[in-house]
């Protein structure tokens, strides 16, 4: 039995290492739980995190906006599709503000404050943005790229999402559904 102690210990260590590697690989995989739930016509609860407002020290969270539709848009100044979709979001913000039904909320990631602020001015962005410096909120939404957009209803649930560039049609349909 004593002779087997070392091989058994080595085997256990090897299995543990392989298990750890497997877990690590699966943990790094895409989190598609929100996508799957929305695809099943469910409305999963939107995650939240208190993040600093772009260019300010004050923090704000998605939960603070409960009661209104929120169009959450992850963006970055270096991202060409973000620039392409910005006018549609600007128009939507104008409509939501006029009707008092909701707001667009930008979230910058992998971007410096001066670069983001420069694009806010250049793209004439009329909605607030938060800074997700450590990708805290992005990870909760399973977001790995920009742009990504999540339409959240007044109860704080995800009604629609898009992993990529959005257009006016998507926004109109998703916001209409979230308002119902």
């Amino acid at each position: 039995m004593k002779r087997l102690t070392v091989p058994i210990l080595a085997a256990v260590a090897a299995v543990a290492l392989i298990g750890l590697l497997g877990y690590g690989l699966s943990a790094r995989g895409d989190d598609r739980s929100l996508d799957d739930a929305v695809a099943r016509n469910e409305r999963p609860a939107a995650p939240s995190a208190a993040l600093p407002v772009l260019g300010k020290t004050v923090k704000q969270s998605l939960a603070d906006m409960r009661g209104k539709v929120v169009v959450l848009n992850f963006w970055a100044s270096w991202c060409p599709p973000c620039e392409t979709e910005a006018p549609a979001l600007v128009d939507l913000q104008r409509r939501l503000q006029r009707d008092g039904t909701g707001t667009v909320l930008g979230v910058t990631r992998d971007d410096s404050t001066p670069d983001s602020l420069k694009k806010v001015s250049e793209w004439k962005i009329n909605y607030p943005s938060l800074r997700d410096v450590d990708n805290v909120l992005a990870k909760k939404f399973g977001s790995k790229n920009v742009p990504e957009t999540f339409v959240i209803d007044a109860q704080g649930r995800v009604a629609a999402l898009s992993r990529g560039e959005i257009n006016r049609k998507f926004l109109d349909t998703a916001v209409k559904a979230a308002l119902q």
Partner: protein, 153 residues
């Protein structure tokens, strides 16, 4: 009088110089090989993307402002998050990056502690079993003779 003025000027300049200047000016090459391109998840010195270029511009601006390498890294973390440093998380699964090497070293040390005494016991036992000393090669035998002769002298 003029010599005293020169000494005074040099001393004033040294005192007024920021710590970064004293420590040597940082360079882009020196910084970019120690940080990550946060969107491409590869070292910045090999990254080619719009985001990587913006990150390099940010570093250049910091260098122009006379910041040291450490100050620049701190500024990068403030703007791009901890991921810019390419260090594993200190919580969750990232913790294993620190714990696994320690566990392996402990396992190795434990294994050696277990095996070494056994090996040491086994060698004399094998000798006792045969009752003979291991045979010496010719070279070893002549070297032993020489050593013994020298000792007897």
């Amino acid at each position: 009088m003029s010599r005293a003025l020169v000494v005074l000027t040099v001393l004033t300049a040294l005192i007024a110089a920021p710590p970064a200047m004293a420590a040597g000016k940082a360079s882009l090459i020196d910084v970019e090989d120690e940080v990550m391109c946060v969107s491409c998840e590869i070292p910045l010195n090999i990254a080619e993307s719009a985001q990587a270029d913006q990150q390099r511009d940010f570093i250049r601006a910091q260098i122009d402002a006379g910041k040291s390498k450490e100050q620049i890294k701190t500024a990068l973390v403030a703007e791009y998050g901890r991921e810019v440093l390419a260090l594993p998380d200190s919580e969750g699964f990232g913790l294993t990056a620190y714990l696994v090497p320690l566990a392996l070293v402990a396992l190795l040390a434990g294994g050696l502690a277990l095996l070494l005494p056994r090996w040491r016991r086994r060698a004399p036992a094998a000798l006792a079993e045969t009752g003979e000393a291991p045979e010496l090669s010719k070279a070893e035998a002549s070297r032993l003779d020489e050593e013994l002769a020298r000792y007897e002298r």
